[in-house]
């Protein structure tokens, strides 16, 4: 059992062997495992600081929401990924709010933010690794900025459908136009209009609550 726990937490930290025994023990003792259902809001913007999440299985979505209830997906977290911003209290310069929800049933470890912060204060190894995690998420957000700024909506929607199809391992996507709009930070009407255009072009077929991808090549070529 102990061995199991050790294995699990250690797996997320390529730098584990550079931490000393005491630091390893403290991190292990500060970790608990949880499983949540699909749709669970795990971390809500401006709410408390629950801790670092280490995803064992499932899929999380990190998104930003506007005051008026609009949303945009910033990035997704999969098996082996670490979510830092659910523990934003460990770094006071993080002045923004991200929400995290489970897109599938998800099992993850939570590491107490206080313990993590204390170890990070003294360990250059853990501090530098934490920077790397942040830089990775920063890179994903910068990629998103590029997409939003320079890429037309049809190309972004084609990308989204292809990615979604890969994640679900299916050409038949059970997703509402509203939900797609929330991923992409736009209005439902914009998505509906674009999907109808895709349908006329023979790329997808729309039925109640389902989008069937008919022509992957054509979507790719967009």
């Amino acid at each position: 059992m102990e061995g199991d726990l050790h294995m699990s937490i250690a797996n997320y930290f390529p730098i584990w062997d550079k931490l000393d025994k005491e630091e390893q023990d403290r991190l292990e003792r500060a970790s608990v495992k949880r499983t949540v259902d699909k749709g669970t809001l795990i971390h809500h913007a401006a709410s408390d600081c629950i801790g670092l999440l280490l995803v064992e299985s499932g899929q999380l979505r990190a998104y930003m929401a506007s005051d008026e209830g609009k949303e945009i997906t910033l990035y997704r977290l999969f098996e082996q990924d670490i979510c830092l911003f659910s523990a934003s209290c460990i770094m006071r310069s993080i002045q923004f709010d991200i929400s995290i929800e489970a897109e599938k049933e998800t099992t993850f470890w939570i590491i107490s933010p206080n313990v993590y912060h204390e170890i990070m204060e003294d360990s250059a190894t853990l501090a530098n690794y934490t920077s790397q995690i942040m830089a990775t998420r920063f890179s994903e957000v910068m990629w998103l900025v590029e997409q939003v700024m320079w890429k037309s909506m049809d190309k972004r929607l084609a990308d989204f459908l292809i990615e979604e199809s890969n994640l679900e391992d299916s050409t038949s996507l059970k997703i509402t136009h509203e939900k797609i709009a929330h991923h992409m930070g736009t209005a439902r009407e914009v998505i509906t209009r674009m999907l109808k255009y895709f349908q006329r072009e023979g790329m997808v077929s729309l039925t109640r609550g389902t989008i069937e991808i008919l022509d992957f090549n054509k979507l790719y070529n967009l």
Copy 2:
């Protein structure tokens, strides 16, 4: 002279006293001062890794450019600010390109990225401080994402004109529509159209190469 140098570099690091003497000495020896003219491109996306910039005076602009030559301003750096992304080689997870140009004549220190990286590897203090700098920039970019996603162009342009007027300490802005478009990541035509609307509403007066702000309150209220 030595004392001067020490003062200058130390000023940028609130954690200076927590570094040991050797680390302080190495950082000092790895720093050189430079002054560049207004308009100088200091760091170009995907080019070499020049080092950390510590701004002593002047004003820098960090921006992202598209393949087609479009631009958007990500944030600005003023006196006392540290620029990390001109030393992106110190962190291999930084997978995006930012360009840095001087908007005014600017004097700054450059710290060699290799030396900085070596010290950061062993010093939790410097590693954590570097994380804080990154988190600050990340917060600024997230603010920008919010603006771009949820805020209409007229409000963003009003904000930009007010900010610009504060920075220049003048109600008369010598800036082309093209340049404003580059700051805001849009096309020149969009800016020209919006400025003409602002002019009709009595908020600004447009003359060749100059935008005169007439009604600050009305701009604020936008």
